[in-house]
């Protein structure tokens, strides 16, 4: 079906600005298919159902809007002290000197850019596959664009228990960088991996991560999206879970002009568990969108979505979360909560929680609230001598606690609490 003229033009303009596709190997085939998907969908527009609350214009534009880099000097980089395998990208370009050797017991780690032109590779069964599955019922054209034009990324295959976490570090240097990275993570039966991501990555960042979690495997993902104020990002996590497997993903977002984090998760084996959580703090020119789609396609799976946002001085938060329970997915336990704490009347929270259930023996709950800080509690704390800013921080941390509790590693959770506390000491409404 032909695209409307406006969409056609927008796509043509964007494609014209993108580099030509590499012409050989397994990746070329995957890219060509992704491009075909993109051409059938066109770029997102404000009128599209899941783009009503977020304007995709700056993500669609042929060139990124410039974004100043932000040098953090007042705290250590996230995960700094941890024993981890570090892989660094600067403005989307792999930095070999800053990275560790890509060698880890029980894990094979390769780069997309160096393996894409081989004829066969394990990743060809994954790259673009979960993304393509995730295009229905809701189209995600920016993910297809990513699959078609990603310049690099990591391909991780875990067969055992990874000896230490893999840590992807995204450094933003150039004010006009436009990075497109695509990662594939495949966990074999019973495999375990913790993947850490941190940093703003670029002025504009597009990232797709496809994760295939086999039976009994466990994937923990913790992401901190940096402190740059002007960067824009669109990210997709596509995950497929086998029986008795586990996915836990937590994201901390503080600052950023525009963030769209999508998660598309399919529970395909019995007794799988998927927990997605986000803690977001935004001040001023800040727009953060969490769009989540969880499909229960097997029996006795559990899913949790816990998204909390603290917004001040005109910041905007968006949550679109859906739980789809397919016929036969009995004993589903689905929980979804999205809440915002608005520190003033200029800030706003837009939420679209959805449940679609085709099985009868399920337990699903969802709740979305938007509220102000409890002035009585604030006064109580102040009356005990706690300065207003600090009192506010205590209440905000209490509000965010449920999301932070989703982090399995207590040391990381503690570090994130401390980062939030410092952020809250630097920012305030009034």
């Amino acid at each position: 079906m032909a695209l409307p003229k406006a969409k056609e033009d927008a796509l043509a303009a964007r494609l014209a600005a993108l580099p030509a596709l590499s012409g050989k190997g397994w990746l070329a085939a995957a890219r060509a298919e992704a491009l075909a998907r993109l051409q059938a969908m066109g770029l997102p527009a404000r009128r599209d159902e899941y783009w009503r609350y977020t304007d995709p214009a700056s993500l669609n534009a042929p060139e990124p809007l410039p974004a100043q880099r932000f040098d953090v000097t007042d705290e250590a980089a996230p995960f700094d002290g941890m024993d981890r395998l570090k892989i660094v990208f600067v403005d989307g370009v792999f930095d070999a000197a800053a990275s560790d050797d890509l060698a880890l017991a029980g894990v094979s780690i390769e780069r997309l850019a160096t393996t894409g032109d081989t004829d066969i590779h394990w990743a060809q069964g994954l790259y673009g596959t979960l993304e393509a599955r995730g295009q229905t019922p809701v189209p995600r054209p920016l993910a297809a664009l990513n699959s078609a034009f990603a310049t690099d990324g990591v391909l991780i295959h875990v067969t055992g228990r990874a000896a230490k976490p893999i840590s992807l570090v995204y450094i933003h240097k150039s004010e006009t960088s436009d990075a497109i990275l695509h990662h594939c993570v495949k966990l074999g039966p019973g495999a375990e991996l913790t993947l850490l991501e941190n940093g703003p990555a670029a002025a504009r960042f597009s990232k797709v991560m496809e994760v295939d979690i086999a039976d009994g495997a466990s994937f923990h993902h913790i992401r901190i999206q940096g402190r740059d104020h002007e960067r824009r990002a669109v990210t997709h996590l596509f995950a497929r879970l086998g029986a008795k497997s586990e996915l836990r993903s937590f994201t901390l977002t503080a600052n950023g002009r525009l963030t769209r984090n999508e998660a598309v998760v399919e529970l395909t084996g019995d007794e799988g568990r998927a927990h997605l959580a986000g803690a977001t703090v935004g001040d001023g020119e800040f727009h953060h969108d969490d769009t989540v789609f969880i499909t229960h396609a097997a029996v006795a799976c559990e899913s949790r979505q816990v998204f909390k946002k603290v917004l001040m001085n005109g910041a905007t938060g968006v949550f679109q979360g859906k739980i789809l329970v397919k016929p036969g997915a009995q004993k589903t336990d689905g929980y979804q909560i999205s809440q915002s704490l608005l520190l003033d009347e200029d800030s706003q929270f837009l939420a679209k929680p959805e449940l679609e259930i085709y099985a009868d023996d399920v337990k699903c709950s969802h709740g979305s609230t938007s509220g102000a800080i409890d002035e009585t509690a604030l006064f109580y704390l102040q009356s005990r001598g706690v300065p207003r800013r600090r009192a506010q921080a205590l209440l905000v941390l209490a509000f965010l606690a449920e999301a932070i509790e989703e982090i399995a590693d207590e040391a990381i959770a503690e570090d994130i609490r401390a980062r939030l506390e410092r952020w809250l000491a630097r920012h305030g409404s009034r």
Binding site: A377, L381, Q382, S383, R384, G385, A398
Partner: protein, 251 residues
Amino acid sequence: MLEIRNLHVKLEEEDKVILRGVDLTIGAGEVHAIMGPNGSGKSTLSYVLAGRDGYEVTEGSARLEGRELLDMEPEERAAAGLFLAFQYPVEIPGVGNMTFLRTAVNAQRKARGEEELSAGDFLKVVREKARTLKIDAEMLKRPVNVGFSGGEKKRNEILQMAMLEPRMCILDETDSGLDVDAMKLVADGVNALRSDDRSFLVITHYQRLLDHIKPDVVHIMAAGRIIRTGGPELALEVENNGYADILGEVG
């Protein structure tokens, strides 16, 4: 210690006047009680002194050891030595009682230029004081006042007071909702804090508390004014005859 002069207060949002010229002077080491009918303005007086939003002072002053309270933020008043035990202590889900106490103690120490208490020292002091108030360790771990019984909340107020060692303590109906034993505990807690350089303003409806905490002066408040001031015998008079006579005399 505390000197309130001609204090007039109205609600910020509506044209409702609540305090109509309160005068009250409390000397160092003294215990004063305020009694008065429901709605006469006792809690309002305590909130205005502590700095709660929503009230507008149209006239008057309130000085603590010579410093004007009404110009200060609530936390500055606390650091200056003011403490209010709330009539309705506030529940704060997600904030542990221990964290709350330590944050408060250290914030005040910092405001006064004193060194913060180490975690160990703090713990020792809290445990000791909690024990005398029969507050168990489990209650200290729970979120502030969440799921506490009425009496537990009031004892928790006294624990905070004991930890913060304020100069001027205002107790707003700390006795209400307490059983006889708890009342004794609270009174003992207060009496243990009595000293020459600490004063108390005890708001109550009942003589019973004043049996335990002997006041030097008793005031009767009605319709936003102190209408009578006397000795402990005034509380007995109220206990026996109610407010009708006193209100009649004035009205």
